[in-house]
């Protein structure tokens, strides 16, 4: 029983790491209907910039500030050079654009900082840590706490501020938002900037866990099942989806692995996602259109 709980809680905590990446997608998808494949590349770009600055002797918060600034500039450039000229185009065009964008950002990051693997130490040990008789990873707890704080901050932003209400207005109806003087471009830029910030946080945590390297951008693929289960338009959904994926892949690995064969945790989430697609295509928290009869 204790072992089961350890696996379960470990899985749930690890799942929140997926949620962090998924939230970046949700933000942009909600506000502009764009499935931003480049979110993974943004995570890599942020982590690589941060770690390279650290290695050059820049102190932690200085590096954080500079990286954040570069993410904001990236958001600005993407809005100006990619989204604005492509406005009103079909979603598949925008998706292809972000696909291209993801390779450009990855290439740019590696041209700037090189392609070698960097270790990133945030100063949080990955030592197991005992809570109520269960051994938990200190790093996972820290990551979960960070994710919780981030979600709290985002929900305050969305529900309590003018920017947040404008963001949700644009997500609901762009033409109506235009008609009352909301500037779409400004809203999109803010969304990409916030997604860049979320990417930075995800990049630091994932970078510390896996090392900062090219494959970091592949965590987009891990975020996909989370989005399918949680829904593309709900931050709460991204959290719940992450928890479900994290817990189920670890449990599957531990309990089904010996029967079916190891490595099941790499593909089990996709099985789960496919099942969800068949049963509930909008995801658990996916926004359905409100229809009155």
């Amino acid at each position: 029983m204790e072992f089961f709980l350890e696996v379960l809680i470990g899985g749930l905590l690890a799942g929140l790491m997926y949620s962090l990446v998924a939230i970046g997608f949700v933000l942009i998808y909600k506000a502009s209907g764009v499935f931003n494949f480049a979110q993974g590349a943004m995570v890599l770009f942020a982590a690589l910039t941060f770690v390279s600055l650290l290695e050059r002797g820049v102190p932690f918060w200085g590096a954080f500030a500079v990286t954040l600034l570069s993410m904001l500039m990236l958001a600005w450039a993407i809005e100006r050079m990619v989204l604005r000229p492509l406005v009103n185009r079909p979603p598949i065009t925008l998706f292809m654009a972000t696909l291209g964008l993801s390779y450009i950002i990855e290439g740019l990051a590696q041209t700037l900082w090189g392609a070698q693997v960097h270790g990133l130490d945030l100063g949080i040990s990955d030592e197991p840590f005992e809570v109520a008789g269960l051994l938990l990873s200190q790093f996972d707890l820290f990551a979960a706490g960070t994710a919780g704080l981030l979600v709290l901050a985002l929900s305050l932003l969305f529900n309590k501020t003018r920017v947040g209400i404008s963001l949700r207005a644009v997500a609901d109806d762009q033409l109506a938002a235009l008609s009352i003087g909301i500037k779409l471009q400004k809203v999109w830029m803010i969304v990409w900037a916030v997604a860049g910030f979320v990417g930075l946080v995800a990049g630091l945590l994932w970078g510390a866990r896996l090392g900062v390297q090219f494959s970091l951008s592949l965590i987009v693929l891990k975020a996909l099942p989370v989005l399918i289960i949680g829904g593309f338009t709900s931050i709460g959904g991204a959290i719940v989806g992450g928890l479900i994926i994290g817990a189920s892949e670890k449990l599957a690995e531990v309990y089904l692995g010996p029967v079916i064969g190891g490595g099941i945790e790499n593909w089990f989430p996709y099985v789960l996602a496919l099942l969800f697609l068949l049963v509930r295509p909008a995801g658990i928290f996916g926004e359905r259109a409100i229809e009155r009869v």
Partner: protein
Amino acid sequence: MAGSRSIVEALLRVDDIEVVYDGAILAVSGVSLAVPQGGIIALLGANGAGKSTTLKAISGLVRASRAEISRGSIHFKGLASTQTQPSLLVQQGIVHVLEGRHVFPHLTVEENLQSGGFVRRPGRQSLQAGLERIYAWFPRLKEKRKVQAGYTSGGEQQMVAIGRALMTRPSLVLLDEPSMGLAPLIVEEIFEIVSQLNAKEGVSFLVAEQNIPVALKHAHYGYVLETGRVVLSGTAHELLQNNALQDAYLGKTQ
């Protein structure tokens, strides 16, 4: 009132505009009209006559609908406005209430109204005062203020859409088909509020309508559109006497 002012002083003047969709489809060809300060002007005609396109040309929303003004000019408060961004036009005092209401369905009624206020960057108290003003005009919205707008009735959504537009503190409201899909009693209630807003606060209205009797009951002056041009105009009284109006109403072409 509409007739007594010269065209030069008009709040809004549209001169011979032509609007083309996707570079090929002509939606409006040669519409001219004027809205005097403090007027309620009706834009009448059947489906597809070009009423909505004309309003979108004025509010600058044509460009968001893949269309452009290919000829003619529009002046608002004396300034040429065909190249002006929609958000700037709202700041200058034009607001467009879209056909089909277009409330933000997942936002509450109150958030919908608030969103209209942001363009003027009011302080917290001034935004609250703006809300209270709207609730005074539409008491029903106050009861529903915590409800998601998508779950309110059609009439309430029309009130939300008008209230949200009024939050921008406009001098001219472009109102597209306010009667669409609503029960006659509700339509009458909404037009009554429009008349009151006009009389008490001096807000000018350009109202596109298919429901000619209701529109002309409240408007001072009207233009009749047919296949993208103005075929008839006159005071509400003159138009009501005109037999040709029946043809336009039924959408007879040529």
